[in-house]
């Protein structure tokens, strides 16, 4: 017992020495947490690390992912819809933690050196904007998730680093400009204002008079003596303890302390009205509060010069405060200006957050977004894409989940208990990753917590370096100057991201083109992903709540024949997508629905198989484009149907935007042609329904109901 204690003490004592020669030592040192208190030094240090790094891994923790259940990305979402949903998420939720982990290849120790940083970020409003407040959404389940992993909300809110995006900064500077211009304009109109303002209250008049005397006395003292000793301002001190003579830019000045804003206003008024050579100005005091001063000037010209100077000073101070409000964006600017390879894990949403928080409002299309991202981050690699697309790596992953922690466990950690079965993997050489925290270096560092942004970034970087190693990339020539992202084995995976993992669409950041995973691997590609013909899809909402996808499919089979629809996808309990097998069925359905809705008391429509779906009489149907419109809205109602209603979506009675030639045929053949088959269908379907036992009950019921009505 005592021995082990001794050993531990010794290791502790030896650590600094050993870390110099980077010998392994188990460490329980926490990763670098950065809050606003230590942001400046941490940033300076990070600058150095990023400059030397071969790649930088990032990871973000947010207050939520989706603002409503239907805002989740579904497999039937077209790429433009997916982008809209990502955009909505990045716009509404806040980033609370930002992990940055630069990795540098150390040739001497043939290992990577990682510097995991964990930044607490909070969108605190540091500069007064146009009066609107900073707001962000929290998804309850996401907060619960963060709480489960012991996220420290207090640190985040109290100590989190605030930030200003590029566009916010521009806006603030522009606003400052316009105020400045206005003030210059105001100088001319000032005099009129002064004469306009009247003293109404008795107390005001008395106070103004007293101030006039006091200031006059002080001025007279100045003019008489040239030097004003205590005897000359004695009377002034008697009148008011709140005056204090100082200098302002080599001019004698009177500092006014501890008065109310009303009193200050009166002093300003008196000064400007009665003393042409005195200027009333506010200057920045030592404690950054604005200190009111009455300054003696030689002439009216000198007074204007002084006023101009003060204005410029104030402007400069305001600019400085805007600059200092940039905060965490310095880190993003650093990553962008160093043009290093950025590594993320499934990081499209992360990038959207980075863009919307630190650069500007997200563009309206994915193409514009990715081309803008490319200008800031020219090379990005996604480990999830890498693991799923490369044959070698997806073979290693062996169809197990490519979640970050799973990939890290599989690739980067030595097998826990090397039993006989996996003897091979035990001696597979691995990339060594040392961790350096505050000049201490550890080779077996593993004391981070999962879902902590800094540690997740570290894991992402480890997975990436290991993946590169398995791809056969030799790190050794990574001498200073050679660039990892130009390695030909890696190049084909750079700047490809999953637009969303749910439907496996990959977006090419260079071209903005988006499509299913085509990067190479046959094993990794997910074959089960369904294909969609969006023009054959109909969106239904305000459905009866108890209706399941299975029921909807059944109804459509009965109405249009089996095989008429290829799939039914439920979005939430109020809305669903139906995909028809043929395009013309879309317009057929819309017309049939329209007719059934119009005479819903007709027994024929009551027994119609679709009546089960349409029985409430308020079901709406529309094409895929309507879905896009709904997604475009900034609103996020909990249920899709409510959202569509609030947007005033009425659905479509017939297909308007379908191709012209089909429309022409329809209209040519006239109404009768269209009614007949559907009528036949009605009869057929009612006949087929009567053969079913359980169905009869229901239809009889509804018939009775309609008769009663």
């Amino acid at each position: 017992m005592r021995n082990t204690y001794m050993v531990r003490v010794l290791t502790r004592a030896l650590q600094p020495v050993r870390s110099l020669c980077s010998a392994p030592s188990a460490a329980d040192v926490e990763l670098k947490n950065v809050t606003k208190a230590n942001f400046e030094p941490a940033l300076a240090e990070l600058r150095r690390h990023v400059r030397e790094a071969d790649f930088v891994a990032i990871d973000l923790e947010m207050t939520g992912i989706t603002s409503a259940p239907w805002r989740e990305i579904f497999e039937f979402d077209r790429p433009d819809i997916q982008y809209l949903k990502v955009k909505d998420s990045a716009h509404k939720f806040a980033v609370v933690q930002f992990g940055v982990c630069p990795f540098r290849w150390d040739q001497h120790s043939t290992s990577f050196v990682a510097h995991p940083h964990n930044f607490y970020v909070f969108p605190r409003q540091e500069i007064a904007g146009d009066g609107s407040s900073y707001e962000f959404l929290c998804q309850t389940s996401s907060l619960e998730f963060l709480a489960k992993y012991q996220f420290d909300f207090n640190t985040c809110i109290n100590e989190g680093i605030s930030y200003l995006s590029r566009s916010q900064e521009e806006e603030a500077l522009k606003c400052l400009d316009s105020i400045h211009k206005d003030e210059i304009l105001d100088v001319s109109s000032n005099l009129r204002n002064v004469s306009d303002t009247q003293l109404v209250r008795m107390a005001d008049i008395l106070f103004a008079e007293r101030m006039k005397n006091a200031v006059g006395e002080w001025r007279a003292g100045l003019l008489q003596g040239g030097s004003w000793g205590p005897e000359s301002q004695g009377s002034l001190n008697d009148v008011n303890q709140k005056f204090q003579t100082t200098f302002f830019q080599t001019r004698p000045a009177l500092a006014v302390n501890g008065l109310t804003s009303r009193q200050l206003k009166l002093i300003k008024l008196v000064t400007e009205k009665h003393f042409s050579d005195l200027a009333y100005v506010h200057v920045a005091g030592e404690s950054s509060s604005r200190l009111p001063l009455i300054v003696y000037t030689d002439s009216a010209k000198d007074r204007d010069v002084l006023k101009g100077e003060v204005k410029a000073c104030q402007r400069k101070a305001a600019e400085i405060s805007i600059k200092s409000a940039i905060g965490f964006r310095h880190v993003i600017d650093l990553l962008s200006s160093e043009r290093k390879l950025i590594v993320g894990h499934n990081c499209f949403l992360d990038l959207a957050h980075v863009y919307s928080k630190f650069i500007g409002p997200l563009p309206s299309t994915a193409e514009e977004f990715v081309s803008a991202v490319q200008t800031y981050f020219p090379s990005i690699v996604d480990t999830k894409v890498l693991l799923n697309s490369d044959d070698v790596l997806s073979h290693i992953m062996n169809k197990s989940s490519t979640s970050l922690s799973n990939a890290f466990n599989l690739l980067c950690l030595p097998p826990v208990a090397p039993t006989g079965t996996n003897n091979g993997s035990a001696d597979i050489p691995r990339v060594k990753v040392d961790v350096q925290v505050d000049d201490q270096r550890f080779s077996n560092w593993n004391s981070g917590a999962k879902h902590e942004a800094g540690y997740d970034a570290f894991m992402t970087g480890c997975v990436f370096s290991e993946a590169c190693f398995r791809l056969g990339i030799d790190f050794n020539p990574l001498a200073p100057g050679s660039i990892l992202q130009h390695n030909e084995k890696l190049e084909k995976y750079i700047n490809y991201l999953y637009l969303s993992w749910a439907n496996g669409d990959i977006i090419d950041l260079k071209t903005g083109k988006c499509g299913p995973d085509t990067l190479g691997s046959a094993i990794g590609r997910r074959r089960w992903l369904a294909k969609f013909t969006f023009s054959n899809m109909i969106l239904l909402w305000r459905l009866p709540t108890k209706l399941k996808a299975k029921d909807i499919r059944e109804c459509f089979y009965k109405a249009f024949g089996s095989g008429s629809i290829t799939s039914v996808h439920q979005m939430d309990e109020t809305a669903a997508f139906v995909q028809f097998s043929r395009a013309e069925l879309v317009s057929d359905f819309l017309e049939l629905k329209d007719r059934l809705d119009r005479d819903n008391n007709n027994p024929m429509s009551v027994v119609h198989p679709l009546s089960r779906i349409l029985e409430t009489g308020c079901v709406r149907a529309a094409t895929y484009e309507t879905y896009k419109e709904v997604c475009l809205s900034p609103l996020s109602e909990l249920l899709f149907a409510d959202q569509a209603e609030r947007l005033g979506m009425k659905g479509e009675a017939r297909l308007v935007q379908s191709s012209v030639d089909v429309d022409g045929e329809d209209s040519h053949e006239g109404e009768g042609e269209i009614t007949m088959p559907t009528f036949r269908e009605l009869q057929q379907s009612s006949a087929s329904v009567t053969t079913r036992n359980f169905q009869t009950d229901r239809i009889m019921d509804s018939l009775c109901r309609s008769a009663a009505q």
Binding site: Q125, S133, Y134, C138, N154, N193
Partner: protein
């Protein structure tokens, strides 16, 4: 005189102690024990003060409840906030006044809308205002405690929607079976269940006779016989809701058994048959299970239990800002807010019959100043009036940690009692007289959204009218599109000489940086001004220039429509512009309808002094 001085010194002492006054902190772990405690203290006190800590209040200056708001628009603003933001802390303080002594029992509940029972309930997500969180943090609010250990809840509406899904534990004999004929399989299933239960019951009854431990335990194993508490039970696997019904139908003939559905499992998997020894024993078991159900229900409703307790006690509820607070309470604990003020107040008053607004009392006292800050209001009253109260807090902090949270509710209490003593309203309610409020309070209760807030019904009218001037909504015009950074005075100066319509008396007030409101004191002028703005024919160069520079105007109805719509922007000007664009598209019928609405609003007056 001596007496008064004595009281004053007492208050001074109380002042010093104020920040150390203990408030019981309630989180998830001590919630159920506190529930019984707070129930007792609510019943034993005469009033209940509540105070809420929210994640935000309003997103932009114009979205705050302004003096220019009618009850309707004020309600919409409160509604919007209540729908978006979240309550993180709810302080409740049942109190009474006995012998000019305030007896208070403050509790502070940490709330978090955790998904305890069902995903997405009580709230899928909520909005946070970062400045609001930052100031809460500054006051020492513990967000970790709140998010890790806050009490969850479900509104009445959510619960009634959710009970459809959480079925009751107890299965009361069949009857639910549809009239359709039983299939052969059904009959076989029923018979099998019957014989199985019969055998099992026989086995149970004979158990003590055989005495062989091995045999009895083997029997148990074969029959899947278990114990439900101390009673023997049998588990029957079922695979559908229909089979559950069949089982309960088939077992109707057995008198001494109770059918129970295991709670935790989702979907239909099994039914437990519990054997009881007698009719009394059966009743006992049923009661026991109902108790468990109650416990589960309590977990579901969570903090709402407290709201229900306050509601059932029928005690008058004292708040500082009734409209906002009760909009939150209604939205989070009762049901989604209805679209109109009338529906809201009737729905609310059916739950809380007596609502007393401290702000309203302040107005009755003639304090028109925006006294939003509780502490400043208290110190103001302290300096103006010599009314003082002694305070006694019955909760004694047992632990040594002194918490600073939830003191605002004490301040609400204090302010209320102080105001009542100044207004000479006796708060001492005789034993058993809870149904009747003191007459003077009666008249000021429930003023949260009835329009007579602006026209109080007692003697204070004189002060009121002397300090304020009211204006009809018809005489208000919203103006935007002027140069950025202009003040109300600037705007008035510019407008003054621009056109004849401004030759009569008028006033200008800023609503936010982008939008101002013009008050025409002469009726009818507003209309002609709007007409000029519409047509653009103003015969005045100055005004024409301003119109060319983008000056726009709209009537109150447009503002009303903005408040009613969903798409609120940070700048009022943008919203108004959007709303006027929409009107152009509207058909004539719609315009007609809106005109009638304007007529309805005509008699609503606004207190301009608050502008």
């Amino acid at each position: 005189m001596y007496f008064r001085r004595y009281l004053c010194s007492q208050t001074a002492a109380a002042h010093r102690r104020r920040y150390l006054r203990p408030v019981k902190q309630v989180v998830k772990s001590n919630f159920s024990e506190t529930l019984a405690e707070i129930k007792e203290s609510i019943v034993s006190s005469d009033f209940v003060a509540v105070s809420l800590q929210k994640t935000g209040s309003y997103s932009a200056p114009w979205q705050k409840c302004l003096p220019i708001d009618t009850d309707e628009t004020a309600y919409w603003k409160a509604k919007r906030a209540a729908e978006r933001f979240q309550i993180l802390q709810f302080s409740v303080c049942p109190f009474s006044v006995k012998a000019s002594k305030l007896i208070a029992n403050p509790y502070n509940f940490q709330l978090f809308p955790r998904h305890e029972v069902k995903a997405g309930m009580p709230s899928y997500g909520f909005l946070c205002q970062s400045s609001c969180l930052a100031s809460m943090a500054q006051e020492g609010f513990d967000f970790n405690a709140c998010i890790y250990n806050g009490i969850s809840y479900m509104s009445r509406a959510q619960e009634s929607a959710a009970t459809v899904q959480t079925r009751s534990v107890l299965l009361n004999g069949g009857g639910l079976l549809s009239t359709s004929a039983l299939s052969v399989a059904d009959v076989i299933f029923s018979e099998r269940i019957k014989t199985r239960v019969k055998n099992w019951m026989n086995g149970c009854n004979n158990q003590h006779k055989t005495g062989d431990y091995l045999i009895s335990s083997l029997r148990k194993l074969v029959e899947r016989s278990e114990n439900y508490g101390s009673r023997p039970s049998l588990t029957i696997d079922v695979c559908s809701e229909r089979q559950v019904q069949l089982t309960s139908e088939a077992l109707k003939e057995f008198v001494n058994i109770v059918l129970v559905r295991p709670l935790a499992k989702a979907g239909v998997e099994a039914v437990q048959v519990v054997l009881t020894s007698s009719e009394e024993d059966k009743n006992l078991l049923v009661k026991e299970i109902q108790g468990l159900e109650e416990e589960h229900r309590r977990l579901v409703s969570g903090f709402r239990e407290v709201i229900d307790l306050i509601s059932t006690s029928q005690r008058p509820v004292v708040v500082h800002n009734s409209l906002n607070d009760f909009a939150f309470i209604h939205e989070k604990f009762l049901a989604p807010l209805p679209p109109t003020t009338n529906e809201f107040s009737s729905s609310l008053l059916s739950v809380f019959p007596h609502i007393l607004d401290v702000n309203h009392l302040m107005k009755e006292l003639g304090l028109f100043d925006e006294m939003n800050n509780l502490s400043s209001a208290i110190s103001y009253l302290d300096s103006r009036f010599s009314a003082s109260i002694d305070m006694e807090v019955s909760y004694e902090e047992k632990t040594d940690c002194v918490d600073v949270h939830g003191h605002s509710v004490m301040k609400v209490c204090q302010l209320f009692v102080k105001l009542c003593s100044i207004l000479k309203i006796s708060l001492e309610i005789p034993e058993g007289g809870h149904t009747q409020l003191p007459a003077l309070l009666q008249c000021s209760s429930n003023m949260l959204c009835s329009s007579d807030v602006r026209d109080p019904c007692n003697d204070d009218v004189r002060i009121w009218t002397s300090k304020s001037r009211t204006v009809s909504l018809r005489n208000l015009v919203f103006l935007w599109g002027f140069r950025r950074g202009m003040s109300a005075q600037d705007l008035k100066d510019v407008l003054c000489n621009s056109h004849d319509v401004f030759s009569e008396e008028f006033d200008v007030k800023m609503v936010d940086r982008t939008c101002a409101i013009v008050v025409f004191w002469t009726p009818g002028v507003s209309k002609s001004f709007l007409g000029i703005m519409d047509s653009g024919e103003c015969f005045s160069n100055k005004l024409e220039n301003m119109i060319l520079e983008g000056l726009k105007a709209a009537d109150y109805e447009t503002y009303r429509r903005v408040c009613k719509s969903d798409l609120w922007k940070p700048n009022l000007a943008e919203c108004l512009a959007q709303a006027t664009d929409e009107t152009v598209v509207f058909s004539g019928a719609k315009m007609q309808q809106e005109k009638s609405v304007i007529c309805r609003n005509n008699d609503e007056m606004i207190n301009l002094d608050e502008l």
